[in-house]
Symmetry: C2
Amino acid sequence: MEDLYPSRRSHEAMMSPIKDPVLYRPWTPEAPLTAGQASRFEREGFLVLDGLFTDEEVRLLQEEAARLRTQAQVLDPETLITEPNSSEVRSIFAIHQQAPVMQRLASDRRLVGIAEFLLDDRVYIHQSRLNYKPGFRGKEFYWHSDFETWHVEDGMPRMRAVSISVLLTENDAINGALMLIPGSHTTYISCVGETPAEHYLHSLKKQEYGVPDDVSLATLVDQQGIVVAEGKPGTVLVFHCNVMHGSNGNITPQPRSNAFFVYNALSNRLQAPFGPEKPRPWFLGTREPQPITPQTGLLTEAVKR
Amino acid sequence: MEDLYPSRRSHEAMMSPIKDPVLYRPWTPEAPLTAGQASRFEREGFLVLDGLFTDEEVRLLQEEAARLRTQAQVLDPETLITEPNSSEVRSIFAIHQQAPVMQRLASDRRLVGIAEFLLDDRVYIHQSRLNYKPGFRGKEFYWHSDFETWHVEDGMPRMRAVSISVLLTENDAINGALMLIPGSHTTYISCVGETPAEHYLHSLKKQEYGVPDDVSLATLVDQQGIVVAEGKPGTVLVFHCNVMHGSNGNITPQPRSNAFFVYNALSNRLQAPFGPEKPRPWFLGTREPQPITPQTGLLTEAVKR
């Protein structure tokens, strides 16, 4: 398969326009986003949405997240990522396969409907995780495009995937909230260098390959600046698979947490990786897509049943 | 001399009220601060002041800072501190002794007047430095009270010193601006552990002793939250020697820079350190106080002469 988005192959970084649409389906009044939201997503590459979930649903998700972190020993150890230099849990992967509440959230029509609209296809979960940035000693996560990694290391052919993050704590500029560069999703940055084998074992803690260069980053920021995705618990952040994002460290006492789902179009399923021969393991990018049937109603009711 | 503020001697952290006034001189209409500013400093432990310098003065200071960083090889190498894991200059100490423009700034009545008012004494420069946090890879600086270090490692007896920082770049919540905990200046936190000899060689890059514990920090933040000292170039930040502060890392392309002066009351000159036997070197805490004669007029005029 032709590599439309080569990266980590050259000694020089390169910026080029992306070769895929941002909105796959034209907006109609039936869309789960307003016309303004759809055009904003097309222009900026992300959306911050309030009020999609009830307070009781948010509380349920927070309790479930706390339970997963404190009972991490019952989870598949392979899916647990700890902070560099500490044993604190930073991420739990494959949460939609390990926790029924998270599976229900991943299938919720409020999220799946947006993904299906943006990608104009049935969708499946490419990756899911619970992110947790502890207070006092939370580490930064440097700028990156998720797609660059999914393409090179997992074999995702096209930009036809979208990430949806549900905030579970207060997120603000000083506790390491996600920072995004608006408009950066329409430019693909080919990164310098090669990917070593088994890179994922380190990259989830500290990225060393697939890192965009300073000049490209400064160019993107010069154009449209940086936006911090601030919000209260329950806020939903929808972002394009190629939008440049990162986060500062967190020395405040307030931890930061979110549930994160990557929806990929069924027509965009993984191929052989475009970089290393061996793809990353199942919990980072599924190779057995299961199309989602969107679930209606409240999370809290579904759990009671 | 009795140690009024013991720290790094016990296995348990301790919070206790400070034993010194915050405002040494009662406010009168002759004060260089308004009554509101004075009471705000007393209550919160810091002030952010705009418009003290003209645009031309700010430009002069920025040019001087850039010159010092790029011509660092002419400076005393002992006074240069680089980023951990890189050779980029993070701080230049003793700038008032190495650069006439900075000496003039340190003596300016707009700064010295505030220090003399708050401390009700003649003042001298305990420490001066140019701080520079590079873009992309600027590291965090963890929470600390400056006084705790100055007391234990330098032998500053009482809390009768004030820091004044002049911002030379845009400072905002996402490029690693100073974060302060309002009201924290009235509580002294005795830190756990001892100070190793020659600690300063490492602590200027990464603090490992004199670090406040999580419980005390969370208690302080619970009371009054965290404030980010945001401001445009030329903004002046006045802060109490014991106010708890720190800064996040900086992955944005925008560097962050300021000129920083510690004014100590002449009556509060250094004694033998209350911790290690040997005091830190001259450029971190002068042991030969030279009282400042405040200079009037513009920095730009003084330089022309």
